[in-house]
């Protein structure tokens, strides 16, 4: 895989910046650093990095706000480092436009893997012409809306199709329950949002080879779901 042109690390701790830099040396050519949220935003606007690693514990501003500002000026993936093990925080970060999060203390290998996955997703994303794809033996054709496993067509309800399509289109990004709900039900009133989990379970029974050990639609506990997209 080609190396990324540039990655920006926003963290106030010099030691963590160098640890992250070490971890990502194999992944990126150029690694920029910023110690505050304001500086990070300036660098992001000036240099258009291909990916941002953002620490939430910045001295000058709330991490969620920096994340939202970054998302406004930049389309590149944002990976957040957080010291808190709070699902609520993860949800608010994803809703604020973050693509992934890593909880401190993290494994450098895991961080590097996540960075790679996000870069791959960003590069292959082609919103103009959705093309057929295969995930763990399941072929999905977004145009004909046809889903097959082992050459046999699987019949999905409209809601199940919408959920699968939404998750697959996100290219492996975790979507929060709210994001999935908004995409599938388009903010219709009176829709039973709480049954999203039931629809996911029914969808898995149709598309997974072992529904009790799902590999295509992955649960991110307390946060949402993602599709394990392998291209």
């Amino acid at each position: 895989m080609d190396k990324a042109a540039s990655i920006l690390i926003i963290d106030d701790e010099q030691q963590i910046r160098s640890a992250v830099r070490n971890a990502l040396r194999e992944v990126a050519d150029r690694i920029g650093e910023a110690a505050t949220g304001a500086e990070g935003l300036n660098v992001a606007v000036a240099e258009r990095p291909e990916l941002v690693v953002l620490d939430l514990g910045l001295p000058d501003s709330a991490g969620v706000d920096v994340c939202r500002e970054l998302r406004r000026v930049l389309a590149s993936p944002i990976i957040v480092l957080s010291a808190r093990h709070s699902e609520d925080e993860k949800v608010s970060l994803l809703n604020a436009g973050a693509d992934d999060y890593v909880t401190k203390p993290f494994s450098v290998l895991e961080l590097a893997a996540r960075v790679r996955a996000q870069l791959r997703r960003a590069r292959t994303a082609s919103p103009a012409s959705p093309s057929p794809m295969t995930i763990h033996g399941l072929s999905i054709d977004p145009v004909t809306r046809r889903v097959d496993r082992d050459g046999r067509q699987i019949h999905l309800t409209p809601i199940e199709w919408q959920i699968l399509h939404t998750l697959v289109s996100a290219g492996g990004r975790t979507l929060t329950h709210q994001q999935i709900f908004d995409a599938v039900w388009s903010r219709q009133f009176g829709s039973p949002q709480q049954y999203l989990r039931v629809h996911i379970t029914n969808l898995r029974r149709k598309i997974e080879s072992d529904p009790a050990s799902p590999r295509i639609v992955i649960t991110e506990p307390g946060v949402g779901y993602r599709a394990d997209v392998v291209r």
Partner: protein
């Protein structure tokens, strides 16, 4: 109508039997103004009225030849009316009878003799006596009614004053002090006190008209007894105990204050003289105790609300502290781990040891945070509609890293029936099942398997994690859920504080579930997690219908 508390005190004080209306009539009807004097000295009244009767008799006797019998009768009737108006029924009756004799003796022929043979004279005498007695009786009745009405009016005034004092006082405790003041002055007793009481916490600080007494004094045993039994108690002048509020000779009265939530306190009234309780006063006392109970209840509710607010604030501060401690400890650990791991990947074994220890420290920090959360009741659940399969899938996925040496997890899920749905907190439930799987795998020999299953049983989703490990001896099977429990064979430095199962049980309980242990038939352990189940078809139909 008197409204000041001084007037209220005088009229309702210990002996209200003497008519105050009498004094008012007396002052209104000219020469009888003296009546005021003997209001409190009834003997004087008798003397004065008998003197008036004698004087009138002498006066009429001296002009006997020039007056008619009718004049005599009318004057006597006037005197009887005046006497009964100011001196009461007994004086009225006495004067009527004496007048009857005087008329017969001095003013009817034959004079100086009680014998009478003229039917007309007899008729006059009988008519006089009847008229005098009936009018005395009517007057006394009217006076009693007037007195009653007056007492009622005073009661209403006092109660409305009590109510307004209660509402106007700023703090709930100040309201109680005012209330005690009003009760004491209204009933005219020498002391009045309220002891707030709660069945589980006992007595609070005593409230008197002087304010709230600091908690130095303990209430005596009678106050305890009144509160615990919820019945009034009386202590008479001669030291006898009773249960009737109206017991004669009562010197001290202990009244339980009953509100919605049961007995909330005791009202203690005491006086040097016996406290007299006529029916109106009893009625009044009942209303007073009701108000006092409301006052005590209000004070308690206000205190509880303040306490709850303080607890919330403490909780918030604790959460903040936990968050910042967690952040402050994790940030250096992140650096250590990241740098050590980078070096370890290059083959440095010392760095690998550092990384391992950093991981261990991270787990200990997590355990400590959990412990302080558990102690401070800081675990909160956000139950939602979730499916059992989703939880099992996530738990299995999480446990992948723990599988080694051919160990496997076997799931037992019925995929043919509709999905099992429950109302629970997904992350808490996942933590519980994850913890159970981790334990089970630890005691599973290489190549063995752990069984993770779920079924519906009545109102519950029943998750089971079963292993073929050594199992847990019966004596220890409940202790394993206690914090810091460690199996006797476990080395002291396995790197965890032994909180896993106690936290798991706590997490189950805060979402109306349970976590129990049972031995597995054929050897091993089964941990059973029950969580509330939901009937999804019904719920879906309802949602669709709305």
């Amino acid at each position: 109508m008197p409204t000041s508390s001084a007037d209220v005190t005088t009229t309702l004080s210990t002996n209200p039997a003497r008519p105050s209306l009498g004094s008012r009539l007396a002052s209104r009807f000219g020469p009888l103004a003296l009546a005021r004097l003997y209001r409190s000295r009834p003997v004087l009244g008798w003397v004065v009225w008998l003197a008036i009767l004698a004087a009138a008799t002498v006066a009429m006797y001296s002009v006997q030849s020039r007056i008619d019998q009718a004049h005599v009768v009318l004057l006597y009737l006037l005197i009887v009316l005046g006497a009964s108006a100011s001196g009461g029924r007994a004086l009225g009756f006495t004067l009527a009878f004496v007048s009857f004799l005087l008329i017969d003796y001095f003013f009817q022929q034959p004079y100086y003799d009680f014998f009478n043979d003229k039917p007309l004279d007899l008729f006059v005498l009988v008519t006089f006596l009847t008229t005098a007695i009936v009018s005395t009786q009517l007057l006394a009745h009217a006076q009693a009614q007037a007195r009653e009405a007056r007492t009622r009016a005073i009661e209403v005034t006092s109660l409305s004053r009590l109510a307004s004092e209660t509402l106007n006082a700023g703090r709930a405790e100040d309201a109680l002090v005012k209330m005690v003041d009003v009760i004491q002055s209204t009933l005219g007793v020498t002391s009045c006190a309220i002891w707030p009481w709660m069945p589980d916490r006992g007595f609070g600080e005593c409230i008197t008209r002087g304010g709230i007494e600091p908690k130095r004094r303990e209430p005596d045993s009678l106050v305890h007894r009144a509160a615990e039994r919820g019945e009034p108690l009386t202590l008479s002048v001669d030291g006898a105990l009773g249960n009737e509020r109206t017991a004669p000779g009562t010197r001290e009265l202990f009244l339980p204050l009953g509100a919605k939530s049961g007995v909330v306190g005791v009202l203690v009234l005491s006086d040097e003289k016996p406290i007299v309780f006529d029916p109106p006063k009893q009625r009044f006392l009942a209303a007073l105790t009701y108000y006092a109970a409301l006052g005590v209840e209000r004070a308690r509710l206000v205190r509880e609300a303040e306490h709850a607010a303080a607890l919330r604030e403490a909780d918030r501060m604790k959460d903040n502290l936990l968050a910042s401690v967690s952040h402050d400890l994790r940030t250096p650990l992140t650096t250590i781990k990241a740098l050590a791991q980078t070096e370890a990947l290059r083959g440095d074994t010392a760095a690998a040891a550092i990384e391992e220890q950093a991981d261990r420290l991270t787990r200990l920090v997590a355990d400590l945070l959990d412990l302080s959360r558990m102690k401070g009741d800081a675990f909160h659940a956000a139950p939602d509609i979730n499916t059992a399969e989703d939880l099992i899938g996530a738990a299995q996925r999480q446990a992948q890293g723990l599988l080694g040496d051919g160990r496997t997890i076997r799931t037992v899920v019925d995929l043919e029936s509709p999905a099992l749905v429950g109302r629970f907190d997904f992350t808490h439930a996942l933590r519980i099942v994850g913890n159970l799987l981790e334990n089970a795998l630890r005691y599973t020999p290489p190549g063995g398997s752990v069984e993770l299953g779920v079924r519906r049983d009545g109102d519950a989703l029943v998750f089971t994690v079963a292993d073929r490990g050594p199992g847990i001896p019966g004596a220890e099977s409940d202790r394993i859920f206690q914090p810091f429990y460690r199996h006797a064979d476990t080395a002291p430095d396995v790197g965890r504080a032994g909180l896993g199962l106690s936290i798991a049980r706590r997490l189950a309980e805060i979402q109306q579930g349970s976590l129990t242990y049972e031995p597995r038939p054929g050897g091993g352990s089964v941990f059973v997690l029950k969580l509330p189940a939901v009937d999804i078809e019904e719920a879906e139909e309802q949602a669709a219908a709305s």
